[in-house]
Amino acid sequence: MAEQASTATPITLIEAITQALAYEMRNDPAVLVLGEDVGVNGGVFRATAGLSATFGPERVLDTPLDETTIAGLTVGMASQGMKPVAEAQFDGFMYPMVDFIVCHAARMRYRTRGRLTCPMVLRVPWGGGIRAPEHHSEANESIFTNVPGLRVVLPSSPARAYGLLLAAIRDPDPVIFMEPKRIYRQYKELVPDDGEALPLDVCYVLRDGSDITLVTWGAQVKETLEAADALAKDGISAEVIDVATLTPLDFPTIAESVAKTGRCVIVHEAAKTAGFGAEIAARLAEECMYDLVAPVERVTGYDTHIPLFRLEMKYLPSVDKIVAAVKRAMAHA
């Protein structure tokens, strides 16, 4: 709830989102929130819980049920001096927004030589693993990663969610902000409501290691850290990097790690082919070939749709799959 924003109790990732929204709405009158059910209902995941009561319905707009509308209104408002934070209710409902994001949001500044800009954020609960119905479990970040002019951000902890969302709202350009819904409530941490934004083009080294670099983002950070723990028991020291800001990509942090470890496994839940992991592997092939002592591996979703929930966990990368890939990499010297 917005009112609890400044208390010093540990909060979940989703609460950190709410806290950041409330902070920035207090801080900047140009900021407003819009989406389906974001008002009185506080969002289907409660990300906007309390905001309507605190800031009023004119700053927390329930929209008609149409994602094209949400995207178009958002671009329209952003290009006229407001800072809208739009919500797509689920990842699978984002596709009708692609046109406005690609043709207008990502190009407004470019097209008008800076005369008009598009400082907006599109928040999207992202990814699988919550036993939800169809189209509620998609890891579709790569729809946007080849689009210049956008930023694609995907935090994986309450603190990073808070700091990166603030940064996204303040950024002068459109940011696609994907939220790993599977870990919305995974754990709590202290996130001071100090309005401190995090940088938008930095990868986070979550764990130091010397034998192999594990690169991941989103909910998979959980499995990857667990895999690193398991590997440690086998004497394998894994460095874990949360990419967090996919595009523009902070490759130097990854390169530096691989220069040290010589090995890299990339973990993501989107399908493998042309998933964003490909870009990281490609950069490694281009820039770090002489550092690598083992082939790069990607542990990803299979090249099929994430199944309905009876099978979905078999689709997603798991600790076992990560450990197996690392062991294959460690077999190279």
Binding site: E36, D37, G39, V40, N41, G42, V44, D62, P64, L65, D66, T68, T69, G92, F93, Y95, P96, R131, A132, P133, E134, H135, H136, K272, T273, Y302, D303, T304, H305, P307, L308, F309, R310, L311, E312, K314, Y315, D320, K321
Partner: protein
């Protein structure tokens, strides 16, 4: 003043909330006996709905979208179609689907997280449940176009909600149906709410029926709690479609008596009073009264039939509960008609992994 165009939207209601006729019943439905099997079907649907909710509450089903209160609209729509027509549902029109031969166990499988729920054994060409709102309307328009081009005497019927009528795909459906004069019936089931967003917040239009004017379609608004009105509206619309007179938009006024889905808590956003009032207008009440007045129904019959419904639904529930999870390769086997080598390799790897995990688990 020069007038470029004029329009009028008719409203249909035959049975009032108290079960008394408010207008002369249309010829086709004047004999109450024709309504009896449909009333029984409505009771069956409600039984299914109630048990499905219970199933979800006890952890045996995923998120479930109830149809409580929509029974007259759903059953009436299903009853108005021919087998060779095509139905494009959203996600709660079980009453219509049962009339078309979808089995309750398929509904449960779908909400139970198993794609086989969409592999209807009955209506082979009907569309599966459709989560992306109103996209089914436009697919149905495409289906209708295929019927027209092939000169088939078939009608496509699509349902969406009041919220769904805001979706651009809904507009695309009515625009294309008008442009090509297609045998399409767009059923807008106005149950007052789109999750937490009330009908009034969706549009400035006084009725949702009038959206059809934008495409030059035939428009009707009907009392969706009145089975007779539903049947009559559908009769007119499907007749027009078959006669080559093009598409229709019908707004069915009903009410969502349950939460949006089992994942929702409607108390957050709507008042008790509104729900209480809606219960006085719900569809069973008036039809039961009407059939009772016509001496076609009584309490004993209802009791017996409800018992039978319970028994029938339980068979379906058991069939669902007994359906084994698909093997891991099921996620690869229906992607391409002609699967590529890399995918087959991933499939083999997944099977091997699964086997290894099983062996590990079994010691």
């Amino acid at each position: 003043m020069t007038v470029a165009a004029q329009f009028e939207i008719e409203y249909l209601q035959y049975l009032g909330p108290d079960g008394k006729p408010v207008a002369e019943l249309p010829q086709a439905f004047r004999d109450p006996a024709t309504l009896l099997p449909l009333f029984k079907q409505m009771l069956y649907v409600r039984t299914f709905d109630t048990k499905s909710i219970a199933l979800q509450r006890t952890g045996k089903l995923g998120t479930y979208a109830a149809c409580l209160g929509h029974e007259a609209t759903h059953v009436g729509i299903g009853a108005s179609m021919r087998p060779e027509d095509v139905f494009a549902p959203s996600y709660r029109e079980y009453g219509a689907q049962f009339m078309r031969g979808v089995r309750p166990r398929e509904v449960l499988l779908y909400w139970g997280g198993d794609e086989r729920g969409n592999d209807f054994q009955g209506p082979k060409n009907d569309y599966p449940w459709c989560v992306p709102i109103s996209t089914q309307c436009l697919m149905a328009s495409g289906a209708a176009l295929s019927f027209k081009l092939r000169k088939q005497d078939r009608v496509a019927v699509a349902c969406c909600g009041d919220g769904g009528s805001s979706k651009t795909d809904f507009y695309a459906a009515l625009n294309s149906a008008g442009a090509y004069s297609l045998p399409l019936v767009l059923c807008v089931i106005n149950n007052g709410w789109a999750i937490s967003v009330p009908r009034a917040a969706q549009t400035g239009a006084q009725t949702l029926a009038q959206k059809g004017i934008a495409g030059g379609l035939h428009c009707l608004q009907v009392d969706g709690n009145d089975l007779v009105a539903v049947l009559e509206a559908m009769r007119r619309a499907t007749l027009r479609a078959r006669n080559g007179e093009g598409g229709s938009v019908i707004e069915f006024m009903t009410y969502r008596l349950h939460d949006h889905t089992t994942a929702d808590d409607a108390r957050r956003y709507r008042g008790e009073d509104e729900v209480k009032a809606a219960w006085t207008r719900e569809p069973m009440l008036r039809l039961r009264q009407y059939l009772t007045d016509a001496k076609l129904w009584d309490e004993a019959q209802e009791k017996a039939w409800l018992e039978e419904c319970g028994r029938l639904v339980d068979i379906e529930i058991n069939a669902y509960l007994e359906t084994k999870v698909q093997p891991v390769e099921a996620m690869f086997d229906y992607l391409y008609g002609d699967p590529p080598p890399d995918l087959l390799a991933q499939r083999a790897a997944a099977i091997a992994l699964d086997k290894a995990a099983l062996e590990k688990r079994n010691g």
